[in-house]
């Protein structure tokens, strides 16, 4: 038995399990100092107070299920130990949370910036205008070429058509976009 624990705790918990309400106040008076002492050995003062309160409430909530054949001391300290571990885990998560927030904030945004979106739109408009200035035969040749398709002509003839269509498209593009 832990030094300083009231030997009446076993009988008090047994009476509480049976429904004897007159055992409540004496049990409270015995348990509260025990739990505060126990939690203060493992936690800082404010955390120890919170853990002791949570353990106390939990013990009374489960008192109806207390098995008189078990040690009341061991059971009570077990509940307090669980609360101590819970507080320590929360403390650990609070320490890890700022690091995670930093990682999220510094991650590069895959979406284009507003300026890049405007430039892309302008380029698409210029390309559309340039292609619009080509002949229908050139447009059809470039379309087939872009899709990997072939008209019913010889490969050499199609290659020549593609080269000429591309040359005319580059000229149109330079005129439209005023790029060298």
């Amino acid at each position: 038995m832990e030094r300083g624990i009231d030997p009446d705790l076993q009988s008090l918990m047994t009476r509480l399990a049976d429904g004897d309400r007159s055992a409540f106040h004496p049990a409270f008076a015995v348990l509260w100092p025990i739990l505060r002492r126990f939690t203060s050995r493992h936690l800082t003062p404010p955390e120890a107070e919170d853990a002791a309160q949570e353990a106390l409430v939990k013990i009374f909530r489960q008192a109806a299920r207390f098995d008189p054949t078990r040690s009341a001391t061991a059971w009570v300290l077990g509940v307090a130990g669980f609360e101590i571990r819970t507080v320590r885990r929360k403390r650990q998560r609070r320490r890890e949370a700022p690091e995670m927030e930093r990682a999220v904030l510094t991650r590069p945004d895959p979406a284009p910036s507003p300026e890049d979106a405007v430039v892309l739109r302008d380029l698409e408009d210029a390309l559309r205008e340039a292609l619009g200035g080509l002949s229908p035969e050139d447009v059809e040749t470039l379309r087939l070429y872009a899709h990997g398709q072939r008209p019913p002509t010889s490969p050499g003839t199609f290659r020549k058509r593609v080269q000429r269509a591309l040359a005319r498209a580059r000229v149109k593009w330079r005129i439209t976009d005023e790029r060298p």
Binding site: G19, F24, R61, A63, A64, R65
Partner: protein, 178 residues
Amino acid sequence: MNALESRLEARSRRAYEVGRLTHAVLRVSPLVPLMALALLGCSPSHEVLACAGTLLLVVTLLFWRGQEWSVGVAPGIAAGLVPMLFPIIIQVGGHLCLPGSCLLLPAGCAAGGLLGGSLLGIAAPRPRAGRMTPFIVACSVAGLMGAVGCLLYGLVGLAVMAAGMATGTAGLVVVRRV
């Protein structure tokens, strides 16, 4: 005791009572399918449900209260199972439900009551001067359980069941007290 400790004690007391009530509900829950079984009989559903609901509520409160109030519950349930199940088995077994025209069901209630009463006489806490509560609780719970099964014949069925139970209990209680 300072204000913080007073508040903490009040909070702990509430947790204790809520915990007792939760535990009581869990202990009563196995009775729910038994009560559902009673609906297989021919008794009107609303009467069975009212009687079963009363039984469940009473047993829950007895478990919650604890001490001498809960000691008689288990023997009462065991004894009350017999008069509750007898009529149901007879009805479900194919016997026609014709109130007033067949003596099998009242006889079943009487026999069930007699057997249940005998069980009560053996298993219920001995009545003692100044300590009658557990015995009274056991008899009440057994009577309520038997009533769930014997409702078909209304007051006649209940009276027959109660008479059988009292007969079975009385003799054995006298013997145990001697």
